[in-house]
């Protein structure tokens, strides 16, 4: 039976148990993730990281959360009361949702029921993932807007533009996966990569790379954390938030990280299947029972490590460069890649042999190269930005203005200066 049929047979109480388990799992992963991030970042910056609270500092996040709970809840005078109150809840609540369609494992026996380790699956699971990630934007935008303060508003606007831009790239990178799996259901996509199938990260590397880039943009993480760029926007959309409300935004961000990592695992890294060199061990015993949960978590941790690694290694991008990367690189590359994949697959299906296929690809590459080489070079854009020198109401100084050198003066010889103030004493050569 497929995962979808198994899940459809779940009684409601079992669904509730699974929902509680998924919820608890997400909370625990989030708590450990924050610790993990700080420890790994610490190592990357040659310092120990948090190591005081609990063994290896494991309880640091719990301590921080408790501390935040007992901090004063400040509400700015200009804030819109209800929206200001609801925004963090939307941000955190929506973050949990997308995880419901992620398959954590295969068929298991849970309280006497044969079921699949997945909360929900439906023919449109991937759309649910995209929908939930879109709802999360509301929390950020409403939070920034309702604060009644300029910095949060700017942060929220940036964040909204950023998330929707990268959602395009993200959504388009799914298309090739759907094409190969022939289904939008996450369970089916994982099945298609198991048992003799290839992980789509190897089969569709371009899609995978685009997904990884856009998932970082989608979650507002460094080096794409322009929505909360400290050097420009203080804290971005949560500048005005304090206490648990701030913690909720924080929670939403980290749960989102876990979710996009889980989606990457599901779509590109074979989901809960054991790594292919272990798949054959003991007649595939590592792909049954509760083993899959281990592989799934390991793969998610691997993706999360990439997040931390990026944050430790790369400086923040400039906003215009960032949007340029999203719209002018990721989207066109994605579209061309989709067309190429569809074309190759259709030709394979219509019985075109490998040799013919390679010939056709070669011809296309040669033609494209020829066109690129034959195109006349555009005159190099001048880097000098045009600034109006005249016109307008204000007289502007010429841009090539040279500051005249200070003429040398002879030091005044032995001039008595009884009224020399403290400021003037430091000036050399008696220029004062």
């Amino acid at each position: 039976m497929s995962a979808r049929e198994l899940i459809a047979n779940d009684p409601t109480w079992l669904s509730l148990v699974k929902a509680v388990l998924v919820f608890a799992l997400l909370l625990v992963i989030t708590i450990l993730l924050i610790w993990f991030e700080r420890r790994v970042l610490g190592r990357m910056q040659q310092r120990p990281g948090p190591n005081r609270v609990g063994p290896f500092g494991l309880l640091q996040t719990v301590a921080d959360a408790l501390k935040l709970a007992f901090k004063e809840d400040i509400r700015p005078k200009l804030a819109d009361n209800w929206v200001y109150f609801l925004a963090p809840a939307i941000s955190a609540g929506a973050a949990f949702l997308a995880f419901s369609v992620i398959p954590l494992g295969g068929q298991v026996n849970l309280f006497g029921y044969q079921t699949s380790l997945q909360l929900a699956d439906m023919p449109v699971s991937l759309l649910v993932v995209l929908a939930c990630s879109s709802v999360g934007v509301y929390g950020i935008v409403l939070g920034g807007w309702s604060s009644g303060s300029p910095y949060p508003l700017l942060g929220a606007l940036r964040s909204a533009a950023q998330v929707i831009s990268y959602e395009i790239a993200m959504g388009l990178s799914f298309v090739a996966v759907i094409l190969f799996a022939g289904s939008l259901s996450t369970g089916d996509i994982v099945d298609a990569q198991g048992q003799g199938g290839v992980w789509y990260a190897f089969l569709l590397p371009v899609s995978f790379v685009i997904y990884v880039i856009s998932m970082v943009g989608e979650t507002n993480r460094a080096p794409f954390d322009l929505a909360e760029a400290e050097s420009e926007l203080i804290g971005g959309y949560h500048t005005e938030y304090s206490s648990i409300k701030f913690a909720m935004f924080f929670l939403g961000e980290y749960v989102n990280m876990v979710t996009v990592s889980a989606v990457a695992t599901t779509l590109f890294l074979g989901g809960w299947h054991a790594p292919f060199w272990l798949g054959g061990v003991g007649g595939g015993v590592l792909n049954t029972g509760w083993w899959p949960l281990l592989w799934f978590l390991l793969k998610v941790v691997f993706m999360l490590f990439i997040f931390v690694w990026l944050r430790g290694a790369l400086p923040r991008m400039r906003y215009d460069q960032f949007m340029k990367l999203g719209w002018k690189v990721l989207v066109p590359v994605n579209l061309v890649w989709i067309v190429a994949v569809v074309a190759v697959r259709t030709m394979r299906n219509t019985g075109v042999g490998t040799a013919q296929l390679l010939t056709i690809i070669g011809i296309v590459v040669v033609v494209v190269l020829a066109i690129v080489l034959l195109l006349p070079n555009r005159p190099a854009a001048s880097d000098v930005e045009e600034v109006p020198v005249t016109g307008g109401d204000h007289p502007l100084p010429p841009l090539d203005l040279e500051v005249p050198k200070v003429p040398k003066r002879k030091p005044v010889a032995a001039a008595p200066a009884p009224e020399l103030s403290a400021e003037e004493e430091g000036v050399p050569d008696g220029r004062a």
Binding site: T12, A19, G148, G171, A176, I234, D320
Partner: protein, 119 residues
């Protein structure tokens, strides 16, 4: 019925978040301070704002939102195609290339007009 589990998780997650946000009003101390309730502007006195956020935003954000809708719709059309691509065969290939080319025209136009530039 397939969506009931998602609803359950929604109730759990959103309930937890609302509970936490509500409890924050009770657990924290309250010490009144006029400056604390002003908007934060690096220590400068906040500029007075008529509506929340001043009511105005740079137009480039609206443009991005419009473009998002354009490409989101393209994406949504590509999904059902991808599911049935094998059944459609060559016909599907030709059709989808035409479709992507149509959107690419709009995309090239926007690019050319500087709609994708930020400064």
């Amino acid at each position: 019925m397939e969506y009931v589990p998602i609803l359950l998780l929604f109730v759990l997650g959103f309930g937890f978040a609302v509970f936490s946000v509500t409890i924050a009003e009770v657990t924290g101390p309250r010490r009144f301070n006029k400056a604390k309730q002003e908007g934060y502007e690096c220590g400068i006195e906040p500029s007075p704002q008529p509506v929340v956020g001043g009511g105005r935003m740079p137009v480039a954000y609206y443009l991005t939102a419009m473009l998002f809708i354009l490409f989101d719709i393209e994406m949504v059309f590509l999904y059902p195609f991808a599911v049935t691509a094998d059944a459609l065969g060559v016909f599907g290939l030709v059709e989808i290339v035409l479709f992507i080319a149509t959107v690419a025209f709009a995309y090239a136009y926007v690019w050319r007009r500087g709609g994708l530039d930020w400064n």
